[in-house]
Symmetry: C2
Subunit: 683 residues, 2 copies
C-alpha cells in the first residue's frame, strides 16, 4: 500500500469522537460529506480525523488512475515525453512553507501548539497540507513549490522555531513536519510521500529548495568531515565580526579590482588571523575520542576539548552591514586558497571565510573538495528516488563552482531527465548564463519590479519579459520580500497584479502562500523589506512582529475578503487553461499600446494562429483613478487576421462577463478601466 492510502487507513483507525477542532473555511471548499458546522467567523468545526480522511477519500483519491505509481515524479508516473524540465514554462507555482501554510489554531487556544489540547499539531505538517490542495487547484496551481523541508538546527535558533534555511541534514526531513495524528504508525518520510502522491494525483508537481552552499553551524556532516568547515577559537567567538574595509566606503560586490584593497585592510587581517585548523587536523588522536549523540553534543564536546567552533557565515558583499548569520556557515568548496587572490595574502593562515573564498564561482581554488561535491550532487537524486519530486530551486546556485552546479544538475537529470531546475537568480541580466547552466526558469526580479507600478517598473518588467532566455516568475512577492498588500495600493494592488501575472508573456505565475488572503506580514525581511514591515499587522494581532521563517505563524485565512482572490482566480484560470499553448508561445504575443501612454496602463495581446481568435488583457495600475482607455489593436489584428467587432469580456475584476462591443471605427479598443481593474477580452 502506498503512503496516501496508508495515511487514510490510519486516520480511520485512529478516529476519535468529540474533538473540538476547527479549520479555516478556505480549507473546506469542497462539499465533503462529513458532519461539520460552519462558524460565522470563517472557520468550520470538523472532526479532524474525518476531515483529513474526507479530503483524501472524497477529493484526492477520486483522481487516482489504476496502475499509475504516483510516488514517482509526475513525468515518470505518467510516462510523459521529457521536456528536459521545460514543463515548468506552462506551470503555475504556489510557494509554501509547510510549517506555516497549514498552521491553524484548531483548538482556538490563541496559540499555535505543537501538541494542542487533543495532542494534535497546530503548526503545519505534510498531512495537513493535503487539505490545502483543493484551494490550490481552484487557483490553477500546478506546482507546489516548497521552501526547505529538511532537518534544521534548533541550537541558538532564531525566533520561536528556527529557520529551515539553517540546514542540519540534507536528507533527514524536519521532524516538526511530522503529524502526531498518525501517532508512530507513519514516519515523517512516509507522510511527505503521502503529500507528494496526493499532489501527483491532482496533477500538481512538487519542487523542493536545496541549499548546497551553506549549512547549519551544527551540521551533522561535521562529525565525519571537520575539514569541510571553517573554524575559530570558541573563546574568541564573541569577537567574531564582519571585517570592515575602511578604504572602501560602500557595500560593494567583490569584483577583482577591489581584492587587493581588501587584503591590505588591517581589519581583514585581524579577521583572517582568527581562523584555526580544524580539530581533526589539530589533534587526530584526541579527535577520535570525541563522541556525541547528535551534532550539537558532538560540537559541544569539540569545544570543550579543543576550544574550537565553526565560524558563522556572513554576506559575500564587501562591507555589508548585516551582522554574521549566527546559525549557518559556508562549506569549503575548495581545499586551497583562491587562485586569483592568494597572492595578496602573505601571512601563514588557516582556511578562512571572506568575500572571495566563499564566492567560489568567481574565485575558485585548485583543489576541489570532491567528496563534498559528490555528496551535494547526490541530494536531489535522493529526493527523486525516495519521494518522486519533480524539480528543485538551488539556493544561491550561481555562487557555486560552475563545475559543481553542472554535477548537481547532471546527476539529477540522469535519474529524471524531465526534472526541472529553478535558479535563485534575481538579476534579470543573468538569464542567458542561467540557461547555459541548465536551469529551466529563474526567480527574476518581479517581486521588486511588479509592485512598482507608478515608477514604471511594472511596465518595464512586462516589456522585458519576452526577451528572457528562460522564463522568470510572475510574482510581486516571495517569502523573502515585503508583501504586496503592505505596499501602497494594498489589497487592490494585490488583486490587480495577481490576475495580470497569469498573462505576462514568458513568465510563470507564482503565488506566495498567504498572498491569496491579503497577508500583510512578510515571512522574512531578507530582500526588499525592512523593519517597517514588522509593523504590518495591528499590535493586538497574535502574529504581530512575527516572521514565518523563524516564528510560529498562521496566515489570516479568516480575512473578511478571503474568498476574493480565490474567486477571481477560479475564473481567470479557465481562460488561462484554454489559452495556455498560446500564452506560452512568445511568437503569438503582441504588446499593446495605449494612446494614453501611461506607466500605469499595460496591455497584453495574444492570437491563436489556427482560430484567428485574440485575447487581450488590459490592466490599470493606477490605485486611485479609473480612466477611459484607447488601446491600439492594429498589430494584433494584422497578425491574427481578425476583424471582429464583437468580443466577450471573459473576466474583469470589477464586472461580470458580458458581450463586448467597445471597439471604435478603426477596430481599436475603447473602454473604461476602473482603478486597479484588469479586463480580459476575447474576440
Amino acid at each position: 500500500m502506498k503512503n496516501l492510502e496508508k495515511l487514510l487507513k490510519i486516520l480511520k483507525e485512529e478516529r476519535k469522537d468529540s474533538i473540538n477542532y476547527t479549520v479555516p473555511d478556505l480549507w473546506f471548499l469542497e462539499d465533503y460529506s462529513i458532519d461539520h458546522k460552519v462558524l460565522p467567523n470563517g472557520e468550520v468545526m470538523v472532526n479532524p480525523y474525518e476531515f483529513y480522511s474526507a479530503v483524501i477519500e472524497e477529493y484526492v483519491l477520486k483522481n487516482k488512475k489504476n496502475k499509475v505509481d504516483y510516488s514517482k515524479s509526475l513525468s515518470s508516473a505518467l510516462n510523459l515525453k521529457s521536456t528536459n524540465g521545460d514543463w515548468i514554462k506552462k506551470a503555475t507555482l504556489y510557494s509554501s512553507m509547510i510549517r506555516t501554510s497549514s498552521s491553524w489554531d484548531s483548538d482556538r487556544s490563541y496559540s499555535l501548539d505543537i501538541s494542542n489540547i487533543n495532542g494534535l499539531k497546530e503548526t503545519g505538517t505534510f498531512v495537513k497540507t493535503i487539505a490545502l490542495l483543493p484551494l490550490l487547484k481552484r487557483m490553477g496551481v500546478t506546482v507546489l513549490y516548497l521552501l526547505p523541508i529538511s532537518k534544521y538546527s534548533l541550537k541558538d535558533k532564531k525566533g520561536e522555531l528556527g529557520s529551515p534555511y539553517s540546514v542540519e541534514s540534507f536528507t533527514r526531513l524536519d521532524p516538526m513536519l511530522k503529524d502526531p495524528i498518525t501517532k508512530d504508525k507513519m514516519t515523517v518520510d512516509e507522510e511527505f510521500g503521502a503529500l507528494v502522491e496526493a499532489c501527483h494525483m491532482l496533477g500538481i508537481r512538487v519542487t523542493i529548495d536545496i541549499i548546497p552552499r551553506t549549512n547549519s553551524v551544527n551540521s551533522e556532516l561535521v562529525m565525519e568531515h571537520p575539514d569541510w568547515f571553517y573554524w575559530i577559537k570558541a573563546s574568541e567567538a564573541k569577537d567574531y565580526r564582519v571585517p570592515f574595509v575602511e578604504s572602501i566606503p560602500d557595500t560593494t560586490y567583490p569584483a577583482p579590482k577591489w581584492m587587493k584593497t581588501v587584503y591590505e585592510s588591517e581589519d581583514v587581517l585581524r579577521h583572517i588571523k582568527m581562523f584555526e585548523k580544524n580539530p581533526k587536523e589539530t589533534d587526530p588522536e584526541l579527535f577520535k575520542t570525541i563522541k556525541g549523540k547528535d551534532p550539537i553534543e558532538f560540537l559541544d564536546n569539540i569545544e570543550k576539548a579543543f576550544d574550537l567552533k565553526i565560524a558563522p557565515a556572513f554576506s559575500d558583499q564587501i562591507n555589508d552591514i548585516q551582522p554574521p548569520w549566527s546559525d549557518v556557515t559556508y562549506f569549503r568548496m575548495y581545499l586551497d586558497d583562491p587562485v586569483d587572490t592568494k597572492k595578496y595574502l602573505k601571512i601563514k593562515h588557516n582556511p578562512y571565510i571572506l568575500c572571495d573564498t566563499i564566492k567560489s564561482n568567481m574565485y575558485p581554488g585548485k583543489v576541489k573538495n570532491m567528496e563534498l561535491w559528490e555528496l551535494l550532487s547526490s541530494i536531489i537524486p535522493y529526493y527523486i528516488n525516495n519521494f518522486g519530486i519533480d524539480g528543485a530551486r538551488i539556493d544561491m546556485g550561481h555562487a557555486l563552482p560552475k563545475e559543481l552546479l553542472e554535477m548537481i544538475i547532471g546527476k539529477a537529470k540522469e535519474v529524471d531527465p524531465d526534472f526541472t531546475f529553478i535558479a535563485e537568480e534575481l538579476n534579470m541580466e543573468n538569464d542567458k548564463s542561467a540557461k547555459e547552466n541548465g536551469y529551466n526558469a529563474m526567480i527574476g526580479n518581479g517581486f521588486w519590479a511588479l509592485p512598482r507600478v507608478k515608477e514604471g517598473e511594472f511596465k518595464k518588467f512586462i516589456n522585458h519579459a519576452p526577451e528572457l532566455a528562460i522564463p522568470a516568475l510572475a510574482t510581486s512577492e516571495t517569502h523573502d520580500t515585503r508583501r504586496t498588500t503592505f505596499r501602497e495600493g494594498g489589497e487592490k494592488l494585490t488583486r490587480m497584479l495577481i490576475v495580470t501575472n497569469f498573462f505576462i508573456p514568458n513568465t510563470i505565475p507564482f503565488i506566495n502562500s498567504g498572498e491569496e488572503v491579503y497577508e500583510r506580514e512578510p515571512m522574512n525581511t531578507g530582500v526588499d523589506a525592512d523593519q517597517s514591515d514588522l509593523d504590518a499587522l495591528y499590535k493586538d494581532d497574535p502574529y504581530y512582529g512575527k516572521l514565518a521563517l523563524f516564528d510560529k505563524y498562521s496566515f489570516h485565512y479568516t480575512h473578511p475578503r478571503r474568498m476574493e482572490i480565490v474567486n477571481h482566480l477560479k475564473d481567470v484560470v479557465k481562460v488561462r487553461e484554454e489559452w495556455l499553448d498560446v500564452l506560452t508561445d512568445n511568437s503569438l504575443y503582441v504588446p499593446l499600446h495605449f494612446y494614453e501612454d501611461r506607466d500605469t496602463l499595460v496591455g497584453l495581446g495574444y492570437f491563436n494562429k489556427k482560430t484567428h481568435k485574440c485575447l487581450v488583457v488590459i490592466a490599470n495600475g493606477d490605485m486611485y483613478n479609473g480612466t477611459y482607455v484607447n488601446v491600439s489593436l492594429e498589430v494584433l489584428r494584422q497578425l491574427s487576421k481578425n476583424p471582429s467587432t464583437v468580443g466577450r469580456v471573459r473576466y474583469a475584476t470589477y464586472e461580470m462577463p458580458r458581450d463586448f462591443t467597445d471597439f471604435n471605427m478603426n477596430g481599436d479598443l475603447y473602454c473604461y478601466l476602473g482603478s486597479g481593474e484588469v479586463k480580459i477580452i476575447e474576440f
Copy 2:
C-alpha cells in the same frame, strides 16, 4: 453524604481529558490551582470537571463548618434567632434565571447547545451556577433570588425554550436545569440541593419565585382536577379573544363602578357564552376512560373526546390591548361566581374568565376552592423541607384571595419562622397593605423611577424610601424591564445607579443578572420596555432580538469593560458592610441638600450614634456634565455631633481613595462631582 459533596465526588469520578472548554474569566475570579489558560478574548480554557471541582473544593467547601446542615434554610442551619424574615432588610439580592445566567458557548460553536461536542450542556444548570458564586460574593450578594425553576410547559412554547412562568408542575424541577456532567448519578433535585448547600456555605440565602395564580394550559393538575380550570370548545378556540367593552374607552382598572357596564357589553356576553362545563362534569364516565402519559397527551385526548380545551388567560385590566397569553391559564380560586358581580349576569353560564372572576382579592366568591388552596399553600413548605430555601417572591400575590395569601404565608412560617416573603408589588402606595399581608419586602417601582434621573424620579424615589412600611428593592431594572444600560446615559448610568443603590435608605440593593456586564438586551419586554428594546444589540450579535425568558441567551460576560462594576462593587461593599447596621436603621439617615438643588444631584447622610462618625454618599446623575457641588451638612453634624474637618473618600467611581478636606468654613462639603460620579466620604 450531602448533595454538594456527592457532586464533587461525581465530578472527580467522571473526569475526562482533552476537553476543549471555556468559561468567561468572570467565572474564574479566584486563584484556582487547576491547569488553565487565560485567552485574550475574556475567556479561560479549563477542563470542566476540574474547574467545577475546584470551585466547590477550593472555594465553597473552605467555608464549611462542622456539624452544620447546609441543606436546611440558613437560619435553621445556623440556628439563628428568627427575625420573622426581616433579615432581608440587610440583604443584597442577585436576581438570576438559572437557565440564562450560567449559559456559555463553552465549545465555541457559536450556538448554545443543549448537548455540545462533549455532551455537556451550554445553557444554564444548577451545577454551573455554583461557578458564579465567587462573582456574586465579590459584589456583596447575600441572596440568590431565583426566577422560576419548576417544570414548565413545552407545548406551543414561546421562543426557543419556552417561558419558566408557564408552570406545568409546582414541585417537579425544570429538567432543562439538570446538568449532564453528572450523567444519571445525580437527579436535578439533588443538583439544586447542591447549589443551595453551596450558597448556604458562603452565607448566601436562596429565594424562589412561585406563581400560585396561574398555571400552564398544560398543567399536570388538570388530570386530577379538571374543575380547577376554565374550559372552552377546542373547535372555537381560534375565536377566543379578550372581550372589548366599547362604552369604556381606555384600559381601566376593574373598579366596582365599571362592572355593571362590563356585564352589559355584548362582547362580554359573547365571550362568557364561549365557556363550557369541564369534561369530568360533562361526561364523568367518558372522562374516566381518558389517559395520557403526560398532561399534553392527556389534554390532546380530552380535546379529541370532548372538543374541550383549557381557556388561555389574559390581563385583568378592562380593555387591555394585550392578546391572550396562549401558554397560561387562571386557577378557579372560587367554585362559584363573584359575590359582588353575579347580580349583573342573568344568563345561564359556565365558569368563565373575566376581569372580576380572576381578580379574587377584589371579587371573591363564597365557595372557596379549598383543595386547591391547600395545594398552593403546600408548595413553599415542600421547598423548605426538601431544599432548605430561605424565602420566596409570590407572583401576583396581591391578586390572590386575602385568606389564601394568609394560608400560604402562615404555612411557610410554621415550617420556618424566619422565611422571608417578597411581594410582587410595584405600587409604592401599597407598602402598608403588603406589610399587613405578612410580606417582608416589596419589589416597588425602583426599576421605573431610578433610571429617570432627569425627570426627578430618581430623587423622588430616594426621598420617599425612608417612609415605606417595608423596604423596596433598590434596582433600576428587573427581568421584566428595559436594561439600564440601554437607557440614555448607558453604561455611565448603570455605574452611577448600581453604586448609589447600595446606600439608599430602607431599600435592598438588587442586581439583575447581566447588569454587572452592562447587558443591553432585556430578558423580557413585559414592563417599562417595548419593541425598541429588541434592537438593543447589534444585528450581528448572536443574541440579537432574543429574550432570555423565552430563548437561549448568554450574557455578554466578555464585554470589554466586564470588570468595571465588579471592581467598583468589591470596594463599595466593604463600606456597606462596615456601615450595614447604620445603613439599615432609618433613624440614622439624614437626607442631604445641595445648594445647587438639581434633580440630578442626590446626597445621602448617615451617622453612627456610638462613634459619631458620618458617611456621606453624593451622586451626580447628570450624564453629560460634571459640576462643583455645595452640600449642606448642618443637620448631619448636629445629629452626629461630629465637627471633623478632615475625612476620607472611601470610594469614588472616578478617583482613588484619598484624604478629604473639601469642607468649607461652615463645615459643609464643597467638591467636584464628575458626570455620573458617586463619591462616598467618611468623616
